[in-house]
Symmetry: C2
Subunit: 129 residues, 2 copies
């Protein structure tokens, strides 16, 4: 399996020390993974679409995070043998089982916006899990 970021690798070591939380976090705790999962939850997307829709992400990180999610079998990568190349990403069945979890995270975050100190209004939220 591909080497993960150290944070995640270390979380994996913690799995037996604490509980399933660390395991879940090791999968979706990456820097850009919430953004990716939010989008793929809506359906299949191409590499370029993801890149455009996730403002500020570098190609390096987009590929990196996609690969980690792929290794964890949360998403899958579909390559069409065409020229120019076309690659699509979508949730796997396992990925779809994360839906209640993604929803719980999203709900909590949206619910407790004020308490956690985000003064910005609801205007720009463009992604609901």
């Amino acid at each position: 399996m591909r080497k993960k970021t150290s944070t995640n690798a270390l979380n994996e070591k913690l799995i037996n020390d604490s509980c399933g939380m660390a395991r879940a976090l090791s999968i979706l705790g990456g820097r850009w993974k919430p953004a990716i999962l939010c989008r793929l939850n809506h359906g299949t997307m191409r590499y370029g679409e993801l890149k455009k829709s996730i403002e500020g992400i570098s190609e390096r990180m987009l590929v990196n995070q996609l690969r980690e999610l792929e290794d964890d079998q949360i998403i899958e990568r579909i390559v069409y043998p065409e020229v120019p190349p076309r690659v699509e990403y979508r949730m796997t069945d396992l990925g779809k089982t994360m839906n209640p979890l993604l929803k719980a995270m999203s709900d909590w975050g949206n619910m407790h916006r004020i308490e956690v100190g985000d003064p910005v209004e609801d205007l720009n939220i463009n992604c609901k899990v």
Copy 2:
């Protein structure tokens, strides 16, 4: 507010771009936070107890992660004016609202142990949310 780790700080920038997921992750996505929250979910604990119970954590990181959780008002720190000093940590009311989320994470992680490639049996799980 205290400066967060860059991962979390950057996630906060993503909040308006994606959704509540990033907000939730910015709070519980830290390296040792699952371990801490797992333990404080059981009840109040002293600094030293946390340190002993979380194997491998350095004092630097324990304090760091506790402070971040405190800043986010997920846990609170109670100092008893005694000698020798005694400090206890416990969930705040806001922290307790994370319980469904923590449980969802834990459940998913425990459920999908095999798929995500953890061959270790259930023996050492000492913390259920």
